[in-house]
Subunit: 449 residues, 2 copies
């Protein structure tokens, strides 16, 4: 049998590869090519393709369709996906599309549209498998038969009372393993993790991770079950939030679309704002340095260590803020932990600062004795400069660790996203203070002699 | 009825809150307090707590238990979780724990231990619901009854041939909705997305996201199904990989544990390495500037714009690399796209550079005419300096965008993680080249007169 089966297996893998290629080429195609391609492939592949697209691409494709074609594809899609698509459209247009649905779906989609897209209510599917608490196992299985014929997935079955309040969850495996005359409520697991309709999707993702959930019911304040969020929706949310955080951390506003699909104007808009702000912040470095005109005029080589000092502060700040932003996003570190973090970062910063300080000292002495003898005038001057550079490195690394780790706490306290404690933002803060440290030490150790 | 139900609901919410508090306090407790607390709570809460802990905490807790206690808890856990725990233990110890399991589980766990923890094989659960392709619906449901009694979850049922090769998937809803004498193979969906045992977990996560999966079978090269990965495992993987990427992007080695549980020595080790390397890289800035001794001695205020110029290059580089690292991690941008990215980044960089350049020019002129008249000697000198600063800003922003976006491609080409194109790494590259741009322009526009 073995050799006969091989080609089938190969064919399956080839098909998966071909499909993935189509999917990854999709963003590069224009709307006309897309609809042409979509119409050309077999129906089951077209279904898979539509399911795997993001909501922008789905909207784009449906927009290029004829009315009857759009109607039949809208009826194929899940209600929560339809709601996402409609929320991309201008209001008048969305109403026209709604009319393509049957009355029952139209009502459910309208209800979903009332939720914010980023809330639990906007993520949930209002269709889920349910049984009544007073049913016997036999009645429950028969009732699930009917729901299965309506294409309601049975992976997660919930036990509701007569008022649709959630009482528990019961696995289809438990129902199948039980005696047919047992009562459903006695088999139900009543410890169900739930969330309210208005919970932010980032928190929903954290709950899924904390409890290793595959699904979570959404309930209103009276305990009525409104819908079900499944882990596949949450995977998308987590990836999306991860991208937004990464972009904010890189020092820009988060993009609404993927890199390739963001227009050049939009891209410049999202980036230039922060860069101009940071540039203005960085202008304080010029003012700070201008105060040390006398030192700079007298000792030209003080200037050449400026980038080395400021960048070391920025780099250690970038590490500290990356650690803190992520630990806060994962819920590992809370606001009340700030003091413990402060102590940790001060000690790490001090040790790392001393290590960098020694490297810096070696650099100055090496140049003076071996590479470019006499560049700093005298041996004594080289040692003084070395001490200045190395003490400054200790200072700026310490500053970087403290500023980088505390800024996310401050942002969080001001109800801002800690991810905005970007590497550039921290670097700018540390640059201004770091230069003051450097020139103050230089005044004490060099210029005053 | 309403007011009677309210307290129950409240109780449930309180319980969930109490549980979350225990869970979030857990990392702060020492081993003795943990085991004490664990023994004090009701059994069902203890089960939930153990399920929600990460593998380090699970191992820690089980280690503090007596032998009979450990045996009973090990038998409670899923086989893939046991394998993860055993892989944390020293070899001799792991063997002793293995002996606490019954023979069948021991074999399965041993098989799991052979897979790398970060591979699909290490993520999968070897227990999954299966039916034979030649069964009728009635026989299949009966067979699933038996599996349900063995506590095998029935959310996903796979159709295998007599050699355990995967032929398709069939929902329990489909089985329940079908006629009892239909053949299972005729109901099966044969388009199942699968992955090989050695697929990296990051790719597994990407597949789940791309196809919106809730579960994916792992098959060997001959198509035998070895186990099942479910979306809840993938949520953990994605969050873990996101943290690793964020830390790398912040310019350090990724931590193995959470921030609070990483020892100070380990923390310094993971951070100091990159900082020293970056410091050594940054030393080229001192050498680069030393070449312009003549200019620096003659025109002291050239130095005061150095931090402003270098930081603007670093900031725009940080944005570009954050965008690219994330777009590559999400599979939106592939290696072959480098030229399109290069063109996009060059044009964005040029436009943003000109905007920053204008702001820089205004800064110089403002100081000269209003804030500190005559600081740059003459009006002509102020204009020349303004032109130097603003042209340099255009240059470094352009450099930053190009270096920041191309470095992830270069790393990826060298089989390195693009996430190592950290903000500090990019900033260091841009600092050295940016200073050369600045002093070259200064030589042409100012010093030569």
């Amino acid at each position: 049998m073995e050799p006969l089966k091989q080609p089938e297996r190969q064919e399956h893998t080839d098909k998966q590869e071909q499909f993935e290629r189509t999917l990854s080429d999709w963003p590069r195609l224009d709307s006309a090519t897309r609809i042409e391609l979509f119409r050309a492939i077999p129906l089951d592949e077209a279904e898979d393709l539509l399911d795997c697209m993001n909501v922008n691409d789905q909207t784009d494709l449906l927009t290029s369709m004829s009315l009857p074609e759009r109607r039949s594809w809208l009826r194929y899609l899940d209600l929560d996906d339809i709601a996402d698509i409609l929320s991309e459209l201008p209001e008048g247009e969305a109403d026209k599309w709604l009319e393509l649905l049957d009355a029952r779906s139209r009502d459910k989609v309208s209800a979903l549209l009332a939720y914010a897209e980023d809330d639990a209510g906007g993520l949930m599917d209002p269709r889920f498998a349910r049984v009544r608490s007073t049913m016997t196992v036999e009645a429950a299985i028969n009732y699930l038969h009917i729901q299965a014929q309506e294409k309601i997935p049975l992976e997660h079955v919930y036990v509701l009372d007569s008022e649709q309040k959630l009482l528990g969850e019961v696995g289809i495996d438990t129902l199948l393993a039980a005696n047919s005359d047992e009562l459903v409520i006695e088999l139900a697991d009543q410890d169900v993790v739930t969330c309210p309709e208005d919970m932010d999707q980032e928190e929903v993702g954290a709950l899924f991770a904390r409890y290793s959930l595959t699904a979570m019911p959404v309930v209103d304040e009276d305990g009525h079950m409104k819908g079900l969020i499944t882990a596949d929706d949450v995977v998308d949310v987590i990836l999306e939030e991860g991208t937004e955080d990464a972009q904010k951390y890189g020092g820009m506003e988060a993009l609404d679309e993927s890199y390739m699909r963001t227009g050049l104007g939009e891209m410049i808009h999202k980036r230039a704002g922060w860069l101009v702000l940071l540039l203005i912040g960085e202008m304080f470095t010029a003012s700070a340095m201008a105060k040390y005109q006398q030192q700079l005029e007298a000792i030209w080589y003080l200037a050449i260590f400026v980038p080395l000092i400021t960048s070391s502060g920025g780099n250690s700040g970038s590490q500290a803020s990356a650690l803190m932003v992520r630990a806060m996003a994962m819920g590992e570190v809370k606001l009340r932990d700030w003091w413990r973090v402060f102590l940790r970062e001060s000690s790490s910063g001090l040790v790392i600062g001393i290590m960098l300080g020694l490297v810096g000292l070696m650099r100055v002495l090496l140049w003076n004795y071996f590479i470019d003898p006499g560049i700093y005038g005298s041996s004594l001057m080289a040692w003084r400069l070395g001490a200045t550079v190395s003490l400054s490195l200790v200072g700026v690394v310490l500053l970087g660790c403290i500023a980088g780790s505390m800024l996310p706490f401050i942002l969080s306290l001001c109800k801002q996203d800690p991810a905005s404690a970007s590497a550039p933002f921290v670097a700018t803060i540390v640059d201004v203070s770091g230069l003051t440290v450097y020139f103050t030490i230089a005044s004490l150790l060099i210029s005053s002699y």
